[in-house]
Subunit: 142 residues, 4 copies
């Protein structure tokens, strides 16, 4: 399984009056990590959106919070593809403090491929390899 590591640093904007990173912002970090993961396997969001009109629409997202991240801490996000077929892809994320390695949060996001009209579409086969989808598996989800 391919794992890609991304790094983000907690911004002041991302904290709240509790003095920790506001919970919704972990989902933004997941996006940053997901975009980098995609690049690391050789495909870009941008290109798929512009050239193929295919978007990755989130259908499910969850996060478990274990340890509060604070301003200016660097977070390492390990991203992997938990599941993928031509209609859907699920990413898994583990977020740790760069300093010390404490697990801050983990989560998953599940996506369907869709067109500009937000209607589900099949992932163009040229992207199968990037998502680790075999042609065999692809057939099973037609």
């Amino acid at each position: 399984m391919h794992i890609h590591e991304s790094r983000v640093r907690a911004r002041y904007a991302e904290t709240d009056q509790m003095g920790v990173v506001y919970y919704a912002n972990y989902f933004v970090w997941m996006e940053v990590a997901r975009v980098e993961y995609c690049k690391s396997v050789g495909f870009s969001y941008q290109t798929m959106e512009l050239e193929d009109g295919v978007l990755l629409a989130v259908v499910d997202a969850n996060c478990r919070y274990l340890f509060p991240a604070r301003f200016d801490q660097e977070i390492v996000i390990a991203t992997s593809l938990a599941a993928a077929h031509p209609r859907m892809a699920t990413f898994h994320y583990e977020m740790c403090l760069a300093d010390g390695g404490a697990l801050v949060a983990c989560g998953e996001t599940k996506h369907v491929f869709c067109g500009r009209d937000m209607k589900p579409v099949r992932l163009p086969s040229k992207y199968f390899a990037a998502f680790g989808i075999s042609n065999q598996a692809a057939t099973n989800h037609d």
Copy 2:
């Protein structure tokens, strides 16, 4: 079961280049709804933070996205307390378009009560009623 309805209108800031509300922002809407829910049962975040030094720290959050909300649409959020005891509370949210009623998303957030140091604490008993916690039930979670 008490259900509180809140209303938010999708802000331009909350959209992304897909032309729909960015997925992390639904968690911000849950917070808006949760704060209003709490007020509707007679207790305020603000007061609990300032007077008792007790915070509601999120430990788990999830959202299922069914229909994309778009700029300027009004969303009705029905919030209820799915579970509560002196250490923990879980809120449930259903978000519908005000116009037409289509279910946009639903989700849950699970919280532990904690002090300023982010260590878990027991909810002060004066707040039991607001969270629908009976003294009997409270004893079982000591």
Copy 3:
């Protein structure tokens, strides 16, 4: 001069670890107020974007911060059109605490009308009235 009053309530998400509303969020509030102002003079962002392909792109924004807004405070935003001609519009905002009336912040945003390609365009004349642009004035800016 037409002044439209909008109301926002400071969200937990909008605070930072200083315990006050994070400075960039006042610009989000200006957007909320601007959208409502536009509606109040009978025209919608949404419609202009979808039907005419005309967008309001910000070219300048500033904010003066006088008094920190805090979580859950309600803010009244008085919005007016400081200047407008067929290429450009400037909005002015005064933000006060609903409770007590203290001036929290004031600011301006300057916009050019542009197409989907972000190139400047002339405001369609059907919108002149909403922006208080006379045909006379319009001619001077051709």
Copy 4:
């Protein structure tokens, strides 16, 4: 004059339905750049907040938008200290596309030093050097 260069990459979360980075987010980028600038001259926000209880509260912020930044573009932010004395500091920012160098935006933020109660204070003299404040100049602003 010391200039510090920071780099940010436009996040999907930061775009809006116009397909460009939402205008308020440039102020978040300024914060990221400001924090890095401060580190580059040997002082940390974090430390000043925790050890000295001194915060940098924004009193004025402005941004001029010249060219729209888009998703996934890398932006180079050149930050400098435009003015500083023991009560106040002004930062200047120039944001360019890393690829090609087009000037995207420029802006300034003006800050007062204040305590946890948000009342103005004098910058502790141990930080004078970092802000390029001479003892002579400091005296003039007592």
